[in-house]
Symmetry: C2
Subunit: 332 residues, 2 copies
DNA sequence: CTGAAAGCGCTTACAG
DNA sequence: CTGAAAGCGCTTACAG
């Protein structure tokens, strides 16, 4: 059997309470006593039983991290950081895949699953503001991502999408490009990034040409490839740059361009958004906006820990950077 | 407060034991009593407290799933399946990232972390057979992947790499290719896949030309790009097909080929291995060997659950399929 | 088939 | 600063 707190207490000749005080830090314990307890712990190889601790504290020690799909690179890389950072907070992270379905997201909120949770961090897709408002206020919730709009009554962590869109577009303009196309799924979905694109054009004194703001109708690369492909095939003059609202759209755009003989980036420079970990999967590799995932994870965990049932929802912003790769800098 | 087992017992007018019997199925309970208990559970909204159950059972209800990096697409997609399947087994999955470092993998085996584990499923990189042999036999362990060799004294789940290498190469030969190059990191690392390649050539009556079996010296795409690039630049006649031991190597190979003006697949067909979820990130998309990840996850979980401390190590094989995409079939 | 009671290993008022 | 004891919510021999 594994040594218990009692065993340590006995070996050190003190009470359980004293051992507990030593193990959990905080309280003042005489240095000699403390040393004796630590020695006993070392000798016995004692480690606290988490299930018992959680039972006593009325916690589970588990938080849920819910994303549409864990095998999508953006979420996988975010999950990896969340795992790293949660350790610091003493939380076990229980990953959940919602498929972006409202029912699955809602089921998590209403905690209709056996393991009780200390809180939930979710990147929602289908959740309505009403769903969020009607949730159990005793279960801390932090929302992530761009689809969780301002209207949600819950803490939220994201990046400044508008500013990031501006920075990405500025980069293209700084390369001397003047006919910059924008690609986004369509109204309502991450189109705030396109507002940043418009900001950049305006700041550069360029006319806003809404004819080259294309709605792909979907988030998949195929959507972008089809949309841009048809547009090019209709005889429209090619842009000299493309700002895509996500990396997947950027990759679809590159396919459409390259398959029509246009050189990226010589003739058309392309910038994506999200910095999904694709290394050199794409040819050329993708210049993109990289959200600071470590910061996102850390901010979300802090917000979860510090959440008060009655407080106003927090709006937290993580930094981002522009990572310049071959799709704008060229292949060396 | 949440209702407890006692509350249900009181409401139903029975003892805790009877409620427990109903909740945990198995034992015979009179139908009328059972119904009364179920009604009480429903009325009170009772759900068992997992921490308390685990404490009573001496389990943690948590298993570890350890991979080098969760944000590498192969592991992310495997983790996603593991999550789905573990639910069936009633396990919470605690993901771990070892970075492939032996110390991190060993630390997990020796359970030097606060939460006790019911078992570990690991895709090891640095672990030695001695490490595995000297582990705590009370902590069930299942190894995954190709780097966990036959010599490891633990249950193992994988696919038939040799046969998969043969199937991949057969596909290239069936396309009429005759000068098929093989790319692998080098001796000892997943080179059993290359043995399958040799099997296919031999079966087709083609001479084995070890000059076109290239060792990249590493697992990254860059390694393949550099190795194949130099080889081509040295004036060697290009192959008409490449079998790469991993998708990343295949992507590096495609870069090397395309950047030198060779058309894929018209001039050089390429097959990868692993089916990492890249959709249309690569141009052309990648024909590849797809291990059945659901089967891998399920077999690993079953093996973990059924593991006996003294039994001989199990060798389990999951099925695979060849997924034909543009890098051999062409772009339609 | 059903019940009363001990025990799982912690934490934390409450005393001293 | 330290200790004895109750309690967290389950499971499971052990009786009946």
């Amino acid at each position: 059997m594994r040594p218990r707190l009692t065993d340590v207490a006995e070996a050190a000749g003190v009470s359980m309470k004293t051992v507990s005080n030593v193990v959990n830090g905080s309280v003042h314990v005489r240095e000699a006593t403390r040393q004796r307890v630590l020695d006993a712990i070392d000798n016995l190889g004692y480690r606290p039983n988490i299930a018992a601790r959680n039972l006593a504290l009325g916690r589970s020690g588990v938080i849920a991290f819910a994303v549409p799909q864990l095998d999508r690179p953006y979420f996988a890389s975010l999950a990896a950081r969340m795992l790293d950072e949660a350790e610091t907070f003493g939380w076990i992270v229980q990953f959940h895949q919602t498929g972006g379905r409202r029912e699955a997201e809602l089921a998590l909120l209403t905690d209709r699953h056996p393991a009780r949770l200390d809180g939930i961090i979710m990147s929602p897709l289908g959740l309505t503001p009403e769903d969020v408002q009607q949730r159990d206020p005793a279960l801390p919730l932090v929302l992530l991502g761009e689809t969780a709009g301002e209207q949600h009554l819950a803490d939220h962590v994201g990046i400044d999408n508008r500013d990031a869109g501006r920075v990405a577009t500025d980069h293209l303009l700084a390369l001397g490009r003047r006919r910059v196309m924008a690609l986004a799924p369509g109204p309502g979905l991450i189109d705030v990034r396109i507002n940043g694109y418009r900001d950049a054009l305006a700041a550069a004194g360029l006319p806003a040409d809404e004819d080259i703001v294309l709605a792909t109708g979907g988030l998949r690369g195929e959507d972008a490839e089809r949309t841009l492909g048809r547009w090019l095939d209709s005889g429209n003059p090619a842009p000299d740059a493309v700002f895509a609202a996500t990396d997947w759209l950027a990759m679809g755009a590159i396919r459409a361009l390259v398959l029509r003989g246009l050189k990226v980036p010589e003739q058309v420079a392309v910038v994506g958004f999200d910095d999904i970990p694709y290394d050199l999967a794409t040819l050329p590799t993708l210049t993109t906006v990289a959200p600071d995932r470590v910061a996102i994870a850390r901010l979300a965990l802090q917000a979860l820990r510090d959440q008060q049932p009655d407080a106003d929802p927090l709006r937290l912003q993580a930094p981002f950077t522009l990572v310049v790769r071959e799709s704008t800098a060229g292949i060396s």
